[in-house]
Symmetry: C2
Subunit: 417 residues, 2 copies
């Protein structure tokens, strides 16, 4: 399948963009080629799509379920009891709803951490976007469960061949306080051997740091470093409570941070030291976290929040400028997870979105990136293409009503459970 | 013109809502009435619309023009030079664009402070929403200009009869540091005599407080109180840097605060003490500020920001819960500006929005207010009604393309100027 986008705005130029074999094949002021699908790009700009480096996709099922509650109560009295009723089929429906919302808001990739990875994988496969689906490791610090955890991972990974290249399975050790030293070391070893990404929550709360110091005499980043887990294949999520040594370790390791500003604010988890991440040159990407602590999955929202909170916290309105934030949400994300994507260039994977330049929120014209970060909402995005296929056009995603019905029914069954 | 909305969701009940003579005339489980327009409400919930208590509407023309810049440079090198080219016609086009965006995101009222009030008034009249349009008073502290300022106000107010009741003219003394004591006192007197609202920027920056103490030996709130300006008809905008005495004065005066969380963050102006406003029981409402410091005019964005920043700043995830924030954006706003509106009840002005319950961002169902605050975007709003007239239906606002062309051309002329 090939696509020719005619006379679309790419930065300051009108170009033809030819997509074939999943890649941007040719980009030029004018192309004389035959294509299966032709899109008139005159009213559109072409931009890279978004890469969401941390979420719990199927938690769309718990969107706005029990909000404005203290974390412990929220988890113990509301989320965990509800989750006991989840099945692989439920996760499939929840992940489809998440994928629908992500496509509608320009996201083509997400880094998932949740239960029933095969349910999530099936949803991703069908919906046409990309995901790294991590097998969650949680042994409550009991090294006796380590073997079982890793067997479980192997079993899931054995299904990788059933899916297209858009679906990858990775390791998701939940956090240093829920996974034993033995499992972390085993995970570190297997991830390197099998060339898999790892995502892990790191230093999300002050309590996590205090308990780590009490138990191990090490801060969470120091402790994780001691297990050999950290490396360039690791997405360290949150990283709110770091000291100088933590920053140095992260930098040396080559790990990427997934910053989730909305979740951090909603749960009152702490301040992300944006300027320190920049000073240390740590690869910085954006994640929405799950819908239950956000409550949307829009990278547009996330961009506005990261830019504004960085300015508010630093007292410096020049910090986190629009282009830097847009790059975090696009090219930085793609690079961090090893995708040859995130820019509109010949040879790269054909992931992109077409922006409706006549949308009122993008008027006046001429400031597209600022408008995307500070003003746009999902309605500004007309078309989303992933892996060379159209996932949304004219804001229509196939089967939307059926996806919504499936998720709603799953939720109704869950609360009856 | 009358409207019957059949079987729409109002809180937990399905009802028929009959609108005639600009008001909610009857609301009941089933109504047998004849209406000019019938809306099938089965897939909708009915909610009060939004009241935006502080903006500079025509600054949509400067949306995303020169972002991420320090305030002084931004004003002196970018905004003010551009504004010198503005005309009444330009303000008309900018205000139409603002009104379009506001209607599209559920807002039916805005409290405006900008140049060429008659241009703004004409746009509001045409677009069908409500506005208080303030005559900006700025005399750079020169009491010699006071008479001229007030004459100018009288001249504008004399046109009030040319507009419907949806358009009201009010006083907008810019701030205590740009308006002389004489003009403030005169404004205080006239506002009371003529029964007009007043809006004024108050304690937006630390510098404002420091300079006020230096010049007058009083803090801005104390100083304004000494001029007799404060009262229940005053919208005090921002109010970021207040001490205990300031809070007490505000409370005693009966003034309302217009909190603009996005603008405060974008310009790094300071922290709003949300919990103190609550503790003092000060009427609290929400404003978007102008598009150039936001850069959208969506009250949905504003609600998410106020809730999340209150949680982040206080470290308490239970602060600023969804219903409280939704009330700020709706009924509190309407009440503060003396409109008998802001709730869906018989006898109140017929301002409302119909929410598309099948929108993916509102799934699962059953948490509508949380979803509106934390998850919804403008696309969730299908229909907006103001003063008993439909301003948007099926997300279509009449003349949208023409409004956009007018604003774009105005901007292109401005930058050529």
């Amino acid at each position: 399948m090939s696509i020719l986008i005619k006379q679309v705005l790419l930065q300051d130029q009108r170009v033809d963009v030819f997509i074939e074999n999943k890649h941007f094949s040719r980009i030029a002021p004018s192309l004389d080629v035959v294509a299966d699908t032709i899109i008139d790009g005159k009213s559109f700009a072409i931009l890279p799509a978004f890469y969401n480096t941390h979420t719990h996709a199927a938690m769309t099922l718990m969107r706005s379920y029990a909000d404005d509650i203290e974390l412990f109560t929220w988890l113990h009295d509301h989320i965990w009891p509800l989750e006991t009723g989840l099945t692989e089929e439920g996760v499939y429906h929840g992940t489809r709803l998440a994928a629908l919302e992500m496509i509608k808001s320009g996201t083509v990739y997400f880094n998932d951490m949740y239960w029933y990875p095969l349910g999530a994988a099936r949803a991703v496969e069908e919906m046409g976007l990309r995901a790294d689906i991590s097998l969650v490791l949680i042994d409550a610090g009991d090294p006796g469960k380590s073997e079982e955890q890793m067997r479980c991972a192997d079993e899931v990974f054995s299904h990788e061949k059933d899916f297209s290249g858009r679906v990858r399975f990775t390791f998701g050790p939940h956090a240093m306080y829920t996974v034993s030293d033995k499992t972390l070391r085993k995970c570190a070893e297997c991830a390197r051997e099998q060339n898999r990404m790892v995502q892990i929550h790191v230093s999300e709360t002050k309590t996590e740091v205090e308990n780590s110091l009490k138990k191990f005499g090490l801060r969470p980043v120091e402790y994780l470093d001691s297990t050999g887990l950290l490396g360039p294949h690791v997405i360290a999520v949150h990283c709110l409570h770091l000291n100088d040594n933590d920053w140095d370790i992260l930098k040396r390791s080559g790990a990427t941070i997934s910053h989730c500003p909305i979740s951090n604010m909603k749960l009152s988890s702490g301040k992300f030291q944006y300027h320190l991440a920049m000073e240390h040159g740590i690869p910085l990407t954006l994640g929405t976290d799950g819908a239950s602590s956000n409550n949307s999955l829009s990278m547009l929202d996330e961009m506005k929040f990261v830019a504004l909170r960085a300015k508010a916290d630093s007292g410096d309105p020049t910090s986190a400028p629009a282009q830097q934030v847009f790059d975090m949400a696009t090219r930085n994300g793609a690079k961090a997870v090893g995708l040859n994507a995130g820019r509109i260039e010949e040879g790269l994977l054909a992931d992109c979105m077409l922006i409706n330049l006549n949308h009122h929120r993008l008027i006046p014209s001429g400031h597209l990136i600022s408008n995307m970060v500070y003003s746009a909402d999902a309605e500004c995005i007309d078309t989303v293409i992933c892996d060379g296929k159209i996932l949304m056009q004219n804001r229509i995603v196939p089967n939307e009503a059926e996806i919504i019905r499936g998720a709603e029914k799953t939720y109704q069954d869950l609360i009856k459970h």
